[in-house]
């Protein structure tokens, strides 16, 4: 018999030490809420797979994190979300990419794991799979927040592909045209 444990993250990057309170506090509160949610679920005997999915759904629903509702935008101003889930005991897993309308991509990844003989579905086929299984979808405009429009505009100005929370700087663009900063 060992003890339960849980860990979660909301992304990594060049997060400024002087992050303003109005940006820091909501994220810390969300982390605390999601941690408490996961602890309660583990204490009530839910399987870790259910706990991990539950917590990630909650994080996806929070607009301040880069997933689900808070997803950042592509160069064309669209969203393309991706997710995966894995059960350690059985090594069963499921993954999805290129989602534009699915509210909780992590739950679609779990359906891929449980309802298909495959591991990974992407783009139109993943969207069709979501609709075939009654997964909640919305118009893709649901995911396009004013803050993420502003972040895309800023990234385009500097011709950079931008990691979570990293503030773009006016560096010389890389030759590949698909560079990163961190």
């Amino acid at each position: 018999m060992v003890g339960w444990a849980i860990a979660l993250h909301g992304g990594a990057g060049d997060i400024p030490i002087d992050l303003p309170d109005e940006r820091r506090i909501p994220r810390e509160s969300a982390l605390r809420h999601c941690l408490d949610l996961g602890i309660s679920a583990l204490k009530s005997g839910k399987p870790p797979l259910d706990v991990a999915e539950l917590v990630v759904r909650e994080l996806e629903n929070h607009p301040d994190f880069n997933a689900g509702k808070g997803s950042v935008l592509t160069a064309q101003g669209t969203v393309e979300m991706e997710a995966s889930i894995m059960d350690g005991k059985t090594k069963r897993c499921g993954a999805v990419s290129g989602l534009t309308t699915v509210v909780n991509p992590i739950s679609l990844a779990r359906l891929v794991m449980e309802k298909t003989p495959h591991i990974y579905l992407a783009f139109d086929a993943a969207e069709a799979f979501a609709r075939a299984h009654g997964v909640e979808t919305v118009d893709s405009s649901h995911f396009i927040t004013p803050e993420n429009i502003a972040r895309l505009k800023q990234a385009k100005e500097f011709n950079r592909v931008q990691l979570d929370y990293t503030v773009p700087s006016p560096k010389v663009p890389d030759n590949c045209g698909d560079s990163q900063i961190g």
Partner: protein
């Protein structure tokens, strides 16, 4: 990117990760999150969810390497995760959260910060963004 790893009192493990990717990414670009073994992995020893620069995490097979170091070299979860974050990916590119089957928790990163939280049955709990806060 967001993620969660969990282990119950019987040592059952799971990992989940979800993301919108990079700001201004090329349409059609796929990162590490849905690539099993890169951004997400779980077996009978541990569960890992990674975040950061997807291409570096894929090249480093980050999540699977943590499990492999435990499986083949007998490292603890903390040792294995620290090795991968320090040695397998460039600085400023990666963070991860991980739990082991015996309830160990670790959350290393080589970026400036990582939004993170953890708790275990022995009463330990942490919510943090930067190192040592």
């Amino acid at each position: 990117t967001v993620g969660c790893v969990a282990v119950d009192s019987a040592g059952n493990l799971a990992s989940a990760t979800s993301t919108g990717g990079y700001v201004n990414k090329m349409v059609g670009r796929i990162g590490d999150t849905p690539v099993i073994g890169a951004g997400t992995y779980a077996n009978h020893l541990c569960a890992i969810s990674a975040t950061g620069k997807g291409e570096d995490i894929i090249r480093g097979t980050v999540a699977r390497d943590v499990a492999a170091l435990m499986e083949y070299k007998g490292l603890s979860l903390t040792e294995a995760a620290a090795y991968v974050v320090d040695q397998s990916v460039p600085r400023g590119s990666c963070g991860l959260v991980a739990v082991s089957a015996n309830g160990e928790v670790t959350m290393p990163f080589n970026t400036t910060g990582m939004f993170r939280a953890c708790a275990s049955e022995d009463g330990y709990s942490e919510i943090a963004i930067w190192p040592n806060n």
